[in-house]
C-alpha cells in the first residue's frame, strides 16, 4: 500500500466509488454531446464531462492505471481529426454557395429529432469529440507530471525503475 501525506492511496472504497461512477459519468457526458441540439448542453460541455472520467480513473487507480487505460497518443491524433471534421463541415457551407458554417442540409429529419438540424448537429458532435480528446489528453499530461514529481519526492536516488 502506498501512503501519501499520511493518507492511504488507492483505498478500496475510493476504488469502488470510481468503478461505480465511471459508467454514469461516461453515459451522461455522451448524452449531453448527442442531445446538444435539442436540449441544454452541447459539444463542449459534454466533452469536458467525458474527459473528467479520466480523473475518476486517477482517483481509483492512480496515474499508472489512468495511463494504462487510455492511450494518450491516440487522443492527441484524434483531437486534430475532430478539428478537421469541424472545418470540413464549415467549408461545406462555402462549397454550397453560402457563407462559412451555413446550415446546408437542414431539412433532414423532423423538428426535435436527434439528427434534425443539419450541420449544427454534426458540428456539435465534432466539437464534442475534439474537446473530449483534447481535454482528456491535457489531463493525462498533467497527471503524468504529477507522477514524475511524486517519484522524485518518494524514491531515493537509484531506485527509479
Amino acid at each position: 500500500m502506498k501512503f501519501k501525506n499520511g493518507i492511504q492511496e488507492q483505498d478500496v472504497i475510493v476504488k469502488c466509488a470510481a468503478d461505480k461512477f465511471l459508467p454514469f459519468a461516461l453515459v451522461f457526458g455522451i448524452y449531453v454531446i448527442l442531445f446538444g441540439t435539442v436540449s441544454p448542453g452541447g459539444g463542449f460541455q459534454g466533452g469536458v464531462i467525458v474527459a473528467s472520467a479520466c480523473l475518476l480513473l486517477y482517483l481509483g487507480y492512480g496515474v499508472r492505471g489512468a495511463a494504462d487505460a487510455i492511450n494518450a497518443e491516440v487522443l492527441r491524433v484524434n483531437e486534430a481529426i475532430g478539428a478537421c471534421i469541424y472545418v470540413i463541415l464549415g467549408v461545406a457551407g462555402i462549397l454550397c454557395g453560402c457563407n462559412f458554417a451555413a446550415n446546408v442540409f437542414y431539412d433532414i429529419g423532423a423538428v426535435g429529432d436527434l439528427i434534425s438540424a443539419g450541420t449544427i448537429t454534426f458540428m456539435s458532435y465534432a466539437v464534442g469529440y475534439k474537446v473530449l480528446t483534447g481535454v482528456g489528453f491535457l489531463l493525462l499530461l498533467m497527471l503524468g507530471l504529477l507522477a514524475a514529481a511524486d517519484d522524485d519526492d518518494e524514491t531515493p536516488a537509484g531506485e527509479n525503475e
Partner: protein
C-alpha cells in the same frame, strides 16, 4: 528590417482605414436594432419578473422568431453557436488546440528534465 517595419505599418494603417470605413458605413446605412433605450434599468433590477418578455426587441426578436424555420434547431443556443457564429466556435476550439499543443511542449519537456534530474541524483 526597415522595410519589414514599413510593411507592418502599412498593413496596420490599411486595417485601421477599413475599420473606420466599416464603422461609418454601419452607422450611416444599417438600421439600429437595439440600443437599450427602452429598458428601465432600475425597475429591471428591482423586480425582474415584471420585465415584458412577450415582445423581444433587437437581435433576440429576429433569432427567437425565425430560428426554427431557418435552422430547424429546437435549441436556439446551439444554432447560434454552430450556425450564426460558426467562426467564433472555430476560433474557440482552435484556442483549445493551441493551448494543449503549448502545454504538451512545456510539460513534456519539464517532465523529461525532472526524470533526468532524478536519475543523475
Amino acid at each position: 528590417m526597415k522595410a519589414k517595419r514599413a510593411a507592418g505599418l502599412v498593413a496596420l494603417v490599411v486595417i485601421l482605414v477599413i475599420g473606420l470605413y466599416t464603422a461609418s458605413y454601419t452607422y450611416a446605412n444599417v438600421p439600429l436594432t437595439y440600443d437599450g433605450s427602452d429598458v428601465d434599468v432600475t425597475r429591471l433590477y428591482e423586480e425582474p419578473g415584471s420585465y415584458d418578455v412577450s415582445d423581444p426587441d433587437g437581435i433576440a426578436d429576429i433569432i427567437v422568431k425565425t430560428d426554427l424555420e431557418k435552422t430547424m434547431s429546437v435549441n436556439d443556443v446551439a444554432s447560434i453557436v454552430f450556425d450564426y457564429r460558426g467562426y467564433d466556435t472555430l476560433g474557440e476550439s482552435f484556442i483549445l488546440l493551441t493551448a494543449i499543443a503549448g502545454s504538451f511542449v512545456i510539460l513534456s519537456k519539464s517532465a523529461e528534465k525532472k526524470s533526468k534530474g532524478g536519475d543523475e541524483k
